[in-house]
Symmetry: C3
Subunit: 448 residues, 3 copies
């Protein structure tokens, strides 16, 4: 957490300084005068509570991805995508506790090679916090909680792109590697204070570290998997409609809500005027970028296709959210809206283009999180005076190269060992029956 | 925000006063002693965080309306209602940022004519907050965030009432006018410190300003639209059941949860004992009024119809929530329960009556938000010693007249320009195909 | 709340002490110096806000149970289970306000017989809080709000187990007795400072007081009801698949999220370093126990049945949550994961065993909340140094005996008066039509 933490703790020096001075002036009172400490206690509690509540919102995003993806696949693959989503969250939580968190925020040998240790250490003692005069300002466990839900988000991106054709346990194996190692290493490079951070690469809440990362891992899987049967037949591109669009819409609403935690919590402190203002600005910009993305994608789909496509509107909102994630603090709300608008326009084009390229991504995850994640990183150069286009591109390329490369190898090894794709009959019958032995909607679906 | 803000900041004077006195007593210490400032910082942060968290809960209500309405319409109009709901939220956020917020809380020429300006200003500086001694006690951006989600709520009410027959883009056009102008003007009259506020009209969180407002706009649309095909044939009233009642129930739960933010955040301050007690009381009363409304509506439906109607129970809970919204602080929990109970009884009667009057409201929005919104305003005269029946009725009539009138004109203009109703064939086939080119549940629905 | 409240308020003495000392040193300043009071105000506000936000999360669990159960029953009984879930929440809120809360936290004659009084009293006055020097540290109303949502959770457990065959209003009658009397009495014995608490029985957030309690009441109902028609025919056990697994998954996600409030809020204080650390630890352990439970149940189902059963995975997550609830603070995250893993293994076995015993529990509530609730209580003896196996078992037996006994009598009386089971024809046609006059999915279901 070193670099990610902003050290704006100056308002708290007052407490400790006052205590010290007063103790000199009235030695007899020194023991009694604890009010400065109490203030440090309160600020620590508020910041910790802020982490926990925003972290809970991010955890809720796991439900959002589950609903979004369950709504966008066919009913015969719904149980499996639900199981993948909730299980990947569990796997991410365990792997990140065992090793991932330490890789990401441990002491690295240098800015490239992270440290290696296991399990979580002890939390801050009261004495240490007081002695720091408030510089140590929130619980380590709250920090872990906030971080762990981010890993799960990155992994959730993968499940959608490989939906409807990947073996369940192959996916789980990949999730172990991704959440325990691949994600934490690039996370270390930026948020753990590694070389990307030193380079001036800016990524407030993870357009790159989370979203581009997830999409890069997904792309490797998609390329090795190939498209779903029946998707590209001859020269034709067949649309495969999702089975339950209210679920997909619910998922988008959940993600929108959760994103307030995702971006809002990434300010990492709320307990003074400046920080509170910053968190509020992040909430407003996150919201308005999503709104801009939705309106732009919806309007473009109406103009382009003649119909106002709900799924494009949903992806537009998500694109706005991804786009603003790299810098939700610096721009004005109006500028943030435009960052979202551009994200919304990009995502429609990207979905069409990627489909034309016969790369089969059932939920549009590569476009939303990959292409627009890249736009989010680039946008920083225009919205944050400290942003540098070169640094942003270096970061994007580094993250992509690392995650795509290691993911490709991982998927390939899993493919070699146990295969990653279900058999043709299983795919036709649906993964739900073959992998899970259950139907998602046994009473509703027409006979196939 | 002038009038809405309660200026109970007295406990914070201590900080500044102490600082001043101590600086006189020990001039040498003056520079160092910042503890009073730190306390002001902390309170500002807590209140800002409180706004953001309660605002996030209100944002979540947009998902609640989407699910409620999507569950209560037929499957062939589900995509469209989903799209309307999520898009109106986006439109509301953008329009209120561009102009609506400034109309509502800007400097009006007088209590009737609001000011006009655009976009959001800067947030409070640290100096200004400290100099105010804590009177300026939370982020402007957090205030905007909390306010913007209320506009979206008002607009969400409209979408349900005009469901299954209104053109998509006609609805969006109306949303622009409603969220940018119609809502903010009447909001100014009360919460912006206009003449309704001066009159002693009480509306804590918006039984009138939000709910009656939304229902009035909806009524104008419904009257211009006419009922759905097949709803009233000859002398018969045909029930048109909703396609997905779990969604409708989920929507109600979401709204119930979000209402803790809606009412709880409207206390506008939490950072001292009195305010914290007040917020807690608001939570308890909001919850128990909903419970009372649900039990009353459910019981009445059982006695009246012989069956215990889930949709009546859901509308009863919402009625309880709407009813308590005008004054959730003053009554005891027992009295709040009764306010909800009466709301629940009213809503069942209103739904039956409005249907008998052949005003077609697919989700009961006119009854829940309009009729019960009026009851909520009236109830204030009985639950708050400062409430005056005359002032409450004046407020209700003013809001209705303004919103219904301007909405009627707006709908009429839109109707003239582009039409507001889909064609008969489109209505029979469903708006989803004609407007959105998608089906909500392509694998489930029986052939029509 | 006497015993449940942990009296770690020492850091606040500083404020009052400082004030007193300074008033002596500078009598003239005494009136002005209010900063200590302001700090007490702030801490009170933060703790109250923490109760309200965590309470809102627990309220959200009611939606989780509704979705979980609605997803796991057949479509013909879906409206009824939705109505039961939302109405039981309302009933619980009203009954607990009228009498339950007072029974649970009133002044009992002794540790066995609780006091009896009605409605809620006044909240703390500002003077009383300041005079207490911060020992009285949060709003009574916030406390009520946090407590009332727990009662609803206990009652929600019942609805699932008796699903698809119990009369609607018989269930509501039981809910009145359960939430007004049965639950509060055993709650008094532990959290109200009764004899179980004196005995050293440890139950942090209610593996026993809430979950085992709910399951015990459910068991009594299930035994009196008998299994669903067609469930056990001859020697065969027929699986009756749930109609909507995305809903069940959504419900599990909601419960997982809500549990952060359930356990996290049960620390009952957040406003200093130690307490903030404790709350953070509770969040982390709650999360990781759920993750462990899910992975364990999922893996066991794969090994045992050859298929990876989504419903087992969901029940595994819930089992992890129930298991850690009795002691989410003392264990390390790794140990907490194991507590969850064992919970996840137990729940799969329990579901199979209970089904083999021909006790028909459509959603697995007896296993998740009853058997694993017991495991949670026992686990305390291994994870908390102060835990005693004897005390834990005494608590478990006492809760079971009381709740099962009084519930059995209550169910029996209701059965005698009005019957508790729907008629055979009604059961075949589904409770939705007979009890509610509505279908949950009128357009989707195949003709039966």
């Amino acid at each position: 957490m070193k670099e990610r933490m902003r050290m704006k703790t100056k308002t708290y020096w007052g407490g400790a300084a006052f205590l010290a001075v007063l103790a000199v002036a009235f030695p007899a009172l020194a023991e009694e005068v604890k009010i400065g400490d109490t203030v440090i206690n309160l600020a620590y509690a508020l910041d910790t509570f802020y982490f926990l509540m925003t972290g809970a919102l991010v955890m809720w995003m796991a439900a959002g991805f589950a609903m979004l993806e369950a709504g966008l696949v066919r009913s015969k693959n719904t149980v499996e995508i639900l199981l993948k989503n909730i299980a990947l969250y569990a796997i991410a939580c365990i792997m990140y506790m065992i090793v991932g968190y330490n890789i990401m925020y441990g002491d690295g040998a240098n800015g490239f090679i992270p440290g290696l240790s296991f399990f979580l250490g002890a939390d801050n003692t009261v004495d240490a916090v007081l002695k720091s005069g408030g510089e140590t300002y929130y619980s380590n466990m709250a920090d872990f909680f906030f971080q762990v839900v981010f890993v799960a988000t990155a992994m959730s991106i993968v499940s959608g792109a490989v939906a409807e054709r990947m073996k369940l346990w192959a996916f789980f194996l990949f999730a172990i590697v991704m959440t325990g190692f691949i994600y934490p290493v690039q996370g270390y490079w930026k948020w753990g204070g590694g070389f990307l951070d030193a380079l001036g690469f800016i990524d407030f809440a993870g357009s790159g570290v989370v979203h581009l990362c997830g999409a890069s891992a997904a792309l490797a899987g998609v390329l090795l998997l190939g498209p779903r049967k029946g998707k590209y037949v001859g020269g034709r591109i067949n649309a495969i409609p999702g089975a339950n669009l209210p679920l997909a819409t619910l998922g988008t609403f959940i993600l929108w809500l959760g994103w307030f935690g995702f971006n809002g919590g990434s300010e990492l402190k709320v307990s003074n005027i400046e920080e509170a203002n910053a968190v509020a600005m992040v909430f407003v910009n996150t919201n308005t970028a999503a709104a801009g993305g939705l309106v732009a994608a919806m309007t473009l789909s109406r103009l382009w296709f003649g119909k106002t496509d709900l799924t494009m509107a949903l992806n537009g909102a998500l694109a706005g959210l991804v786009a603003i994630t790299a810098e939700p603090l610096a721009p004005s709300p109006l500028l943030a809206t435009f960052v979202g608008v551009i994200g919304g326009l990009i995502v429609v084009c990207a979905i069409i283009f990627i489909d034309k390229a016969k790369v089969d991504d059932p939920v549009g995850a590569l476009s939303v999180h990959g292409v627009v994640g890249l736009w989010g990183l680039i946008a920083v150069a225009f919205t944050n005076p400290e942003g540098s286009l070169v640094a942003q591109l270096t970061g994007a390329v580094t993250i992509f190269a690392w995650v795509f490369g290691t993911s490709f190898v991982t998927w390939f090894v899993i493919k070699t060992i146990m295969g990653i794709r279900v058999s043709e009959e299983e795919e036709l019958a649906g993964c739900d029956i073959s992998d899970c032995g259950l139907e998602a909607y046994p009473e509703f679906t027409k006979d196939r």
